[in-house]
């Protein structure tokens, strides 16, 4: 099958039932996408599919053939990366790539989100370290 990731095209073989997250990590070596629960509850595996935040651990890879997949590796120069570091919006960092991918869709659609909007839109990305107040801060100040 053909997979388009971060603007590059990849030909690969994937068995039926293989998830997008596993394919990105194991076949393409894009390990920035993390798997926290592997059942769509924690948000660590969030990637963009045609710009829409998508839980890659419960997305079958064959369903995104030919669509634009963006992972954290494709967002490394996004200003959110700096704002997350500056605000100390990460502790262990395992959920952080997923947080940034979700936040990139949020600020892409709404460059000045209110705190209420941030809390609503980011509630699907769990952070066990509890970096939430600073994640909120990083998103509020993403263009500083």
């Amino acid at each position: 099958m053909e997979l388009v990731v971060n603007g590059g095209s990849y030909s690969l073989e994937a068995p039926v039932g293989r998830s997008l997250a596993e394919t990105l990590r194991d076949a393409l070596g894009l390990t920035g996408t993390k798997i926290g629960c592997n059942e769509g509850h924690c948000g660590a595996c969030t990637v963009l599919v045609d710009g829409v935040p998508t839980l890659s651990c419960i997305t079958l890879v064959h369903t995104v053939e030919g669509r634009d997949v963006t992972t954290i590796e494709g967002l490394r120069d996004h200003p959110l990366v700096d704002s997350f570091v500056r605000a100390d919006a990460l502790q262990c960092g395992f959920c952080t790539p997923g947080q940034i991918v979700s936040a990139s869709a949020l600020v892409g659609a709404n460059p000045e989100p209110t705190r209420e909007q941030i809390r609503h839109q980011m509630a699907g990305n769990l952070c066990r370290c509890g970096a939430y107040p600073k994640i909120e801060e990083a998103i509020v100040s993403w263009r500083d």
Binding site: T31, V85, C92, C129, Y132, I135
Partner: protein, 752 residues
């Protein structure tokens, strides 16, 4: 010269004597307050790597030819394996090895809790391994589990002898009391749920074993694995560059490490054993539930005259009995205190340390009880705490204690209660509560660090420790930069590999900064004095007039030379500094203290509780990185809010089956659950007796008082006594009903 001394080591309240080699003369502490780099807010040096998805966690280790493991776990709380047949699994596609109870110690044929490992399969893919595990045939003899901790105590099914403590005469104390309160408090079982599950990759290199593991203690894993496998410890190399959270659950090697090592040995291939989220929530430990039957007596002015407590820890099938009774013994000056603690052995997964184990639970009970007492005597809860302040001027003085200063700093937050209560609106009642915190956090020896400087003038700190997400690497780099007078971006930090650095302490018990920091500073000071020695010879100066500042060697007569120029003389030679953690102050208690003031809103119709504001004031000595420190405080409070309001591991009461294995069933706090305002105030005054830094640990203190502070705020808002965690809507409504009934009784039978 190396000097051998005997010193005391404290691990979560237990003291033991250890021998220690001390190499350096003690350095004087830096003056209080911010330095050039230490004490200033600093974004973490590993932040970009983590945020960009470049950081390599154990989950990201992919070795050529690596196999994957699936584990067969007991579906029963208590059962014996009558027979087990691995042959179908061994014959399944892609399977390279299968092992059972006869092959490895950690695989058991008597299951004492659901989720204990019984057999394991290594295959080319995880899917193949999981499919093969489904083919393992087990004939179980299912036994009746004991799940109620009180029943275990009655049956004397205990993991330790009941732990008894007594000072003074409690009976006489209660006889002298003007007011006595008595209550039973319950705390639930909660799960760590680190975002990276427990996992290990093992690869044999001849007779050496490489272990990539998500761990809080590289050297502990090395020693545990070496002992279990009968290897010399340095034949085991343990690597953990980045790790995705532990909170106490990753202090040991874990069964999965031994399973991976054995399967790697049998197959001659690297083997990963990674737990699924559902396995994580069965088999990797928990903060155990407690039952606390407490009693407090005071004179009418609020002076405590007696405290007593019976504590039942629902430890599980194995594990240790945390000091739930600790706060009752330590927090207040009370002449008469009696406690007994039971470690109930039941058919549930073993507890593991979870961020201030015992003290989180014990502080909830004690600090709620104290407020009930204050309410009965119509006294101000903050004043009652001040009145019973413990000075510990007995045989074990505090190295430093500034809780009174914390109370003073709490006043403006506490004063808000009048205004907060006035904002109650219809069914929504608002109130303010507070609770105090005592916990350990002094760290201790041994811990070592090296500092290397090359001709480019950059320094590298090397120590085989782990950064579990607390910002350790940043704090250590700050300490080295401060001591060497270098900018932070001239200091690199290498950690995470037992083959590439000296012994480093565990990252648990709020001990990492106080254990490692002084060793790093000593190593930097050693390297720094070598730079000065070289400069003195090269530029014809007396060494005593030279110092390091702003990347320069500075002479008191005004001369200065860039450090890069001085070490540039070395060409390929290097300066190597080494440092060791010295002993803790002999005969002293090194403890952390604090107080939190919480504002809540309670919907008295639905039982919903919202935390509106938290002020956290803690005394942890010198603060290395105020930015990272505030993150630790916020994280502890948010984890504590989860513990207080939403998290609970549920069991089927008949079979012991764990019902909350997934993250939709087990309710972690989300960003939407965070209080709009968390105020962090750290006193930031060095502990003058503790090491060359005066820093204590901060990882745990913020989670200790939050549950009691929330419950006390609820009482302030509604008059209801919450006594059980989590404060679900049902528990909230129960407490409100009880308060209403109490009120009606009072009205019906006026005091004579």
């Amino acid at each position: 010269m190396a000097r051998l001394i005997k010193t005391e080591k404290e691990v979560e309240g237990r003291y033991e004597d250890v021998w220690l080699v001390v190499e350096e003369d003690a350095l004087d502490q830096w003056p209080a307050g911010p330095g050039e780099i230490v004490g200033r807010p600093t974004p973490r040096i590993t932040g970009a790597q983590r945020a960009r998805g470049e950081a390599r966690y154990t989950a990201d280790v992919q070795l050529p030819g690596m196999l994957h493991t699936a584990v067969l776990r007991s579906p029963h709380a208590y059962a014996r394996v009558k027979s087990i047949d691995l042959s179908l699994a061994l014959a399944a596609p892609g399977v390279r090895a299968a092992i059972g109870p006869d092959d490895l110690d950690v695989l058991v044929d008597e299951a004492g809790y659901p989720g204990v490992a019984v057999a394991a399969v290594a295959a080319d893919t995880f899917d193949a391994a999981r499919d093969a595990v489904a083919l393992i045939e087990v004939d179980w003899d299912v036994l009746e589990p004991v799940l109620d901790p009180d029943e275990a105590v009655v049956r004397k099914q205990l993991l330790i002898e009941p732990r008894r403590y007594e000072r003074g005469d409690v009976e006489r104390g209660f006889a002298e009391a003007d007011a006595v309160v008595e209550a039973e408090f319950r705390t639930q079982t909660v799960l760590h749920n680190s975002m990276e599950t427990h996992q290990t990759v093992c690869e044999w290199q001849g007779d050496r074993l490489d272990v990539y593991v998500s761990t809080q203690f590289i050297w502990g894993v090395r020693d545990e694995v070496a002992e279990q496998l009968g290897l010399p410890p340095d034949k085991v190399r343990v690597v953990c560059e980045f790790m995705g959270g532990g909170f106490g659950s990753k202090n040991g090697a874990g069964d999965h490490t031994f399973i991976a090592a054995e399967l790697a040995r049998r197959t001659g291939r690297p083997v990963r054993c990674a737990l699924t989220r559902r396995e994580e929530n069965q088999a990797t430990g928990n903060r155990n539930a407690t039952i606390q039957r407490l009693k407090a007596g005071a004179r009418s002015d609020g002076t405590l005259v007696a405290l007593s407590g019976e504590f039942v820890n629902a430890v599980g099938w194995s594990g240790w009995t945390a000091t739930t009774e600790g706060p009752m013994q330590m927090l207040y000056a009370c002449d008469n205190v009696e406690t007994v603690t039971y470690g109930a052995k039941i058919n549930t997964p073993p507890m593991r340390a979870f961020r201030a184990p015992g003290f989180v639970e014990g502080t909830f009970g004690l600090e709620c009880l104290l407020d009930e007492l204050a309410a009965k005597l119509d006294l101000d809860p903050l004043e009652v705490r001040r009145l019973n302040y413990s000075h510990a001027d007995d045989d074990r003085p505090y190295s430093s204690k500034r809780l009174m200063e914390c109370y003073k700093r709490a006043e403006p937050h506490w004063e808000r209660r009048h205004e907060v209560r006035a904002r109650s609106d219809g069914a929504w009642k608002r109130g303010v509560g507070l609770a105090s915190q005592v916990w350990y956090g002094g760290g201790g020896p041994p811990s070592y660090a090296w500092v290397r400087l090359g001709a480019d003038g950059r320094a590298t700190v090397i120590t085989a420790m782990q950064d579990i997400g607390t910002g350790t690497a940043t704090a250590m780099a700050q300490i080295a930069a401060e001591e060497l007078g270098l900018p932070l971006d001239s200091v690199d930090f290498v950690l995470g590999d037992s083959a590439r650095g000296p012994y480093a302490s565990i990252s648990a018990g709020s001990s990492t900064t106080p254990s490692m920091g002084p060793a790093v500073r000593a190593a930097a000071a050693d390297a720094g004095s070598q730079i000065l020695e070289i400069a003195a010879q090269r530029y014809d100066q007396e060494q005593r007039v030279l110092s390091l500042k702003d990347g320069q060697v500075v002479s008191s007569d005004g001369g200065s030379w860039p450090v890069a120029e001085v070490v540039g003389l070395l060409e390929d030679a290097q300066i190597l500094g080494k440092g060791a953690r010295g002993p803790n102050p002999a005969g002293m208690q090194v403890l952390t203290f604090g107080v939190q003031v919480v504002e809540v809103s309670v919907d008295t119709e639905t039982g919903e509780v919202q935390v509106d504001r938290v002020a956290a004031i803690h005394d942890v000595g010198r603060v290395i990185n105020p930015l990272g420190a505030s993150s630790q405080v916020e994280g502890g409070i948010i984890q504590g809010i989860g513990h207080t309001l939403s998290e609970e591991r549920l069991l089927d009461p008949q079979t012991g089956t764990i019902l909350t294995q997934s993250l939709d069933a087990y309710r972690l706090p989300t960003i939407a659950d965070v209080p709009p305002e968390i105020v962090t105030e750290l006193l930031d005054i060095p502990d003058e007796h503790l090491t060359n830094l005066g820093s204590k640990g901060l990882g745990e203190p913020p989670i200790v008082p939050i549950a009691a502070a929330i419950a006390n705020a609820i009482r302030d808002a509604t008059g209801a006594d919450v006594r059980s965690l989590p404060i679900s809507r049902e528990e909230m409504l129960r407490a409100l009903r009880e308060a209403r009934e109490r009120q009606q009784e009072k009205v019906a039978t006026p005091a004579s």
